[in-house]
Symmetry: T
C-alpha cells in the first residue's frame, strides 16, 4: 500500500537542459514536463514526491543523505556520474534506502563508456532507454515494493 | 492505444526452473506465476500476449524471427545468453521490432561477467532487478510506445 | 578437375532473413537468390552442392559432422557464431574437410566485436565483404583445390 | 555406499567423433568404448548410469534440468561449451546436483582460449588430461561423495 | 569579424595556484597574469571575455550551461577533470557552443593518466603545451571561426 | 618537537554517516567520536588540529588550498574520491604540504575498484585498515616528521 | 562489363621473395608466376592490370595515390604492413577506389599479431588463405563490381 | 601393471597446516591423514610412494630434480606456487616425468587469481576440487598410465 | 624576436591529397592553400619557412635530421604516423629542436586509434582540430618561444 | 592491555641491506637501528617482540607458521614478495593471526608494479611510506587491538 | 673458422646521429667510431663486413633481402623499428640468415614501449645495453656460429 | 684492464639440468662444460670467477648480497625467476654492482611469458640466445667495462 509513501527523485548533471539540444538522443520532453508527469502519477498513487536537480556530485550525495529517515525510497538518474561516481555508489549503499536508477536513453547503444554503471550494484534495479516513462515505471516499482 | 496489440514474451535458458532453487537470487515466483500475472495484465490492457521458453539459442532466434509480421513487440529475458549471444543480438536487430530486455535480478550485483549485455544495444530498453514486476513494467512500456 | 565433387553450403543464424531488413548492410539478395546462383554455378562446374540454413549452433555442428565422408568440402557463413562458437571451430577441425568461411559484409567495417573470427584458424581461407559473389568465389576456390 | 545411485553422464559437442580424427590429441578410444568402460565400472560399483551426447547447448541444458530429482549427480564433458556457455554454468548451479567436469586432453597445453572454463566454478571438481580414465575417476569420486 | 563576440574562459581545479609551486611544470605566470594577457588581447580584438575559475566540477558545468545564449564560444582548461569528467564532456556537447580545450603543459610528457582527455571529443580542438600563449591562440582560433 | 604545529584533518564523502549503517565495515565509532579522540590526542601532543568534512570534491580541494601557509600538514581520508579524484591528487601535489592518507577499513579486502588510490603517489604515506586509530597514528607520524 | 577496366595490383613487403624460403607457409609459386596468372586472367577478361611491389610503406602509399583517376580499382596484399600501417589505411580511404585485400596464407592460423588487419575496414573485402588463386578471385570480384 | 612403481608426492606451501584453520575450504583432513590414505592405497596397489612437503619453491624444484631416475611419476599439489612458479613449471618439463597436479579445493570457485595454473601445461593432467580423494585418484591414474 | 628565424614545416602521409576527398573531415583547403597562408604569415612575421611533404616515414626522419643546425624549429603534421612511428618520436627527441605537432581534424572525435599520439611526448605542444589555422597558430607559438 | 603480548616482526628480502645503498628511497636507518627502536618501544609497552629477516619466501612462510600459538600478532614488511607471493598471502590467512603490513617507502610513488600488494587482503591493515616509524606505529596498532 | 665470412651490419633509424645529442643514453661514440671498431675487429678476425644505415624501413628490408646469397649473417640494430616493424621481422625470417639484434642502451630501463622487440623472435639472439661493444660481441658470436 | 677483477657467475633454477633433457632448446652443453669454458676464459683474461647455482630465489638473493664488496660484477642467468622475481631485481639494484643477464635460448622465440624480464631494468645489459657463448661474451663485456 503506497499511501503516504515519500519518494525523492534526483536528477543528475545536465538533466536541467533536457528538451533543448540533443533531442535526437533525449527526446523533446523537458525536465519540467517530467516533473509534471511524476506529480500527476504521485497524486493518483497517493504518494508524495520531492525532486531536486544538481550538476554537483557533492550536492547529489548530500541529497541522498538527507533522504535518510525522511523518504521511503529514491529514483535517481545520475547522468554522467553514473559512469564514475563511486562516491554516489557509497552514498546509496550507506543510505540503506531502496533506489532505482533511471536512464532516459539506451546507454548501451551510445559511446562505449556509457555502458558501465558504477552505481548500479548499489541500486535495487535499473530502468534504461524508456524515456520519461522510465521515471513513472520506476516510481511504480518502488511503491509496489514498499 | 494498446487495443489489439500483440506482444511476444520470450524466456531464455534456465528460466523454466524459476521459483525452485536459488530463490535468494530469483525469488520464489515460478514462471507459471509470471505468465499468469502477464496474462491478467494483458487482459486488463486489452492486448494479447504469447510466450515461449527455451534453453536453446537457436529456438529463441527462431521465435524472434517468427514474431516478424505477427507481433508488435517483444519482451525478452535472454537469461545467460544475454552475455554472449551475438546471434540473438543480430536477430533482434533484423526483426525490426521494439524489444525490451528484462532481468529478474540485479545483474550488476552478481558475478562480474553478468554486468555486460551484448543484447542490450539492439533493444529499446532494459528493466533490471525488479523481479516479476519487471515484465509487467516492460509490457506497459511497450504498449505505451506502440 | 571438379567433376563429381560434392560441396556442402552452410548458412548460419539469421541468414534466412537476407534480403529483407538491413539491406544497407547485407544487400537485397535473398537466400533463395544465393542458392539459385550457387546451383547455376555448380551445374556449370559439374559439381554438386547441397545447402542448409540453421539458427542453431548444434544443428550447424551436426551438419558439419554429417558432411564427413559424404562431401568433399564445405562453404560456411557462420553468421554471428563466427565470433564465439569454439564448438563450430572444433567441428571443422574434427571434420578434416577443407572449409571456406564466407561473410557477405565487410565484418571489419562494422562493430568491433565482429572483427574476430574464432572459426577462421580452422578454415582453409576466408572471403569477406564481397556479397553473394563471395559464395561463388569460395566454391570456385574449393573446387580448384580439390 | 554407492548402491542404487544414479549418475547422468553428459558428452558435449563433437565428442561423438572421438576416436576418429585428431587422435594425437584425444586418443583412439571411441565414445562407445568410453560408454562401455563406464557401464562396466557402474556394474561393479552397483550404481546406474545413463548417458547422452549432444552438439546443442540447449539440449545439454535440458538434460541437466531433467536430471533434477532423477539422478544423484552428473559427470559432464562440456567440450567447447566449457569455454563460453554461461547458460550451462547456470543450469549446473540451478540443478543443485554435484557435478564433475571431465576433459580428455590437457586443456592447459593447447590453445590459450581452452584454458578458461566458465563452467568450473559451478562444479564440484575437475578432472583434466587423463583420457577416458578421467570419466571413471570422476564417477568414482562422485560415488564416494554421495 | 570578431567584433562584439563574447567568449567565456573557464579555468578548472587547482589553476588558481598557478605561478606558485610546481613552476617547473606550469611556469611562473599566475592566473592573474593570464587573465591580464587575455583581456589585452580581447581589447585589441574588439571581443569581450569573461572568466571564472572553480575547483568544483558542478560549478564548471553550471558555468558552461550559463554560457548558452550569452556567449559565442568557450575556452576551457579543465585541469584534472580533463581525465575523468564525463559530466563536463556532456555539458559541452549539450551547450552546442564551440569550445577549445587548453592545457598549459604537455600532458603527453607527464604521468600516463594525463594522456587521455575524456573532454576532447566534445571540443572543437585542443591546444596543448604552449603555456599561457595557448589561451591567446585558442581565443584567436575561436574568434576566427565565429 | 610538535608544539604549535597545526594539522588539518579532512574527511571525504559519506564519512559524516560513520557509525550508522554498514558498521560491519566501518565500525560503530562516529565521526564525532573520532574528532574527540583526535582533539584529546592533539591536546596531549601540544599541537592544534582543525577538521572539515565534505561530500564535494571541489570543497575538499578548496580546503587543501586554504591549508597552504596556515597548516603544517594534512591528514586526509578521501573516501570514494580516493579512487578517481586526480583533482585532489593535483591539489595535494600543488600544496607542497606533507599529507597522510588514512582509510578506516582495509580497502584491499573489499571491492576490486577500492584497491587503487590515485591520491597515494602525492601523499607521504598511507595508513589503511586500522579504524579510528589510523587517524591518531597518522597524526603522530605527521608530528614526528615535522 | 569489365572491358577496358584498369586494375592496379600492389604487392607489399617481402612478397618479392615468394616461392623461395618458407614455402610451407606461402607455397612455391613465385611473384612472377602470380603476375603471369594475373595477366592471363586479365587478358581473358579484357581488362588491364598493372602491378608494383615495394618494401616501402611510403612507396605503397604513393602507388595508391597515383591510382586515383588512372585505375578503376586496386588489389593489394599489404604483407606485414597489414597489421600496423594506418597510413596505408588512410591512403585507401582517401583514394576512394574499391580495394580488395588479399593474403596468400591464412593469417588467422599463424602468429596472433597477424590476425588483425588495420587496413581491412577501408577495403571493400578480403580474400585470405587461398594462395595465388586469391589474387584471381579478387580481380574477378573487382571486375564484377565495376 | 603398477607393481614396483615408485611415485613421489609433493605437497607445496601451507599444506602442512591442513585440517587446522580454513576447514570450510580445505576440509578437516590433515596432511598426515592424507599421507596415511596414500600409503594404504599404495600398499594395496603394490606401488611405493614417498612424499615431501615444503614451503620453499627452491626445495620443491630440488625434489622434482631428485625424482629423475628414482621415481616413475609425481603427484604434486603446488599450493600457491601453482599461480606463479614458472620455475616449477620448468622443473616439471625438464624432469620428463609424468606429473599430475592435484588441488584439494575447487580453485575456480575462489579468488580470481587462483583460476590460472602456470604449472598445468607441463603436467599430464589435473584433478581439482575432490578433496583428499584427488590424491588417490591421481595416484590411480598415474599407475594406470605407467 | 622572430626576425630571421627559420622554421621547417613537415606534412606527413596522405596530406598531399588534402582538399580532395574526405572534405567532411579535412575541409576543402588544399595543401597548396595551406602553404600559401603559411608563407604570407611568414612574410608578415619576418621569418623564413621551408616545407616538405612525404608519404615515407624514412624521408620524414631524414627531413627532421636535416633541420638540425639549419632550422630553429619544426611544425609537423605526422598524419597516420602520429599513431605508431616511434622512429619519428626518436628523431624529434634526437634533433633537440622545438617541435609543434599539428592536426587538422579533431583526432579525438574519430576512430579510437587516432586518439593516441606516440609522437606527442617528444614535442613541445600540440594544436588539434583547428584546421589550416592550426599551422599558423603553431608557427606563431614557435616564433614566440624562440 | 598489551602486557605480555608477543609480536613477531618479519623483514622480507633485501631489507638486510637497509641503510646502505638507495638511501634516497629507504633512508639511512639500518635494520639494526629499526630493531633497536622496536625493542625500546616494546620495552616501554611491556610487550615482547621477536624478529627475523630472510630473503627466502619459504622461510618467511615457515616463520609465519611458527608464530601460530606462540605469538599474538605479526608485523611484516614482505619487501618485493609483497607484489607476487600468493604463498605468503595464504600463510597469513592460514595463521589466523592479526598481521600488519609495513612498507618503509611510499610504494605508490615508485614503479607501477609496486602499487599492488597481493598480501594486503589477508592483513588487518597497511602502513606505507612512513619510514622506520611505520614499524612502531604498526606495533602500537597491533597492541591496541589485542 | 671465420675466414672469408661476410657479415652485413645494419644500423636503423636515427643511429646516424649517434654521439651527438642524448649522449647520456647512447654515449658519445659516433657511428663512424663504431664502424671503425667493427672494421678493426673484422680485420683481426679475417672476416669481411659491410654496413649500411637507413632511416627507412623499406630500405632496411631491401638490405636484408640483398644479403641473401651474398652474406653469411647480419648484425642489426633496428632502432625504433624494433618495436613495431613486423615487416623487418618477416624479412629476417624470409632471409634464412643468422641475425643478431644489437641495442646500444638497455631498452628495458627506458620507456615501457621500448621493452618489446617484435623483431627478436626471428633473430638468433640479442645483445642489449652494452654500448658499441655490443656490435663487436655480436660479430664475434656470429662468426663463432658460422 | 681486467687483471685481478673478480666476477660472480650465478646460475638460476633448473640450470643444473643443462645438457640433459630439452636439448633442442638448450643444447647439449652441461653446466660443468660452461663452467670449464668460463674458467679457461677467466684464466686467459687474468680475472677470477666464482660461480654458484641454486633453485632457490632466496639463495640467489643471498649470493648477490654476498657479492657486495667481494666481487666487481655479476653474470646472472636467472632462469625462470627472470619473469617474476622482483626480489632479485631489487637485490641487483641494491647491490650497486654491474650485472649482465644471460639467457642460453632466445626467450623471445618461446612461450609468450618468457618474453618479459622483470630483472632486466636493473641490469647493465642482456645477452640472449647465444648459448654458452653468451656467458663468455658477458664476461668479456663486464671486464671491458670495469
Amino acid at each position: 500500500m503506497s499511501d503516504n509513501k515519500k519518494i525523492l527523485v534526483i536528477h543528475g548533471p545536465n538533466l536541467n537542459l533536457l528538451g533543448g539540444r540533443e533531442s535526437e538522443i533525449y527526446g523533446s520532453t523537458t525536465l519540467a514536463d517530467i516533473e509534471k508527469k511524476l506529480r500527476e502519477f504521485a497524486d493518483s498513487s497517493h504518494c508524495m514526491i520531492e525532486s531536486m536537480q544538481s550538476n554537483s556530485e557533492g550536492k547529489i550525495i548530500d541529497a541522498i543523505h538527507s533522504a535518510m529517515g525522511r523518504f521511503d525510497g529514491i529514483i535517481i538518474n545520475p547522468g554522467a556520474y553514473t559512469h564514475y561516481s563511486i562516491a554516489i555508489y557509497d552514498a546509496i549503499l550507506a543510505s540503506g534506502l531502496p533506489v532505482i536508477e533511471v536512464h532516459l536513453s539506451n546507454i548501451h547503444a551510445r559511446e562505449e563508456f556509457r555502458r558501465r554503471s558504477v552505481v548500479a550494484p548499489a541500486c535495487k534495479g535499473q530502468i534504461i532507454g524508456l524515456g520519461w516513462r522510465g521515471y513513472l515505471l520506476g516510481l511504480q516499482a518502488l511503491l509496489a515494493e514498499l
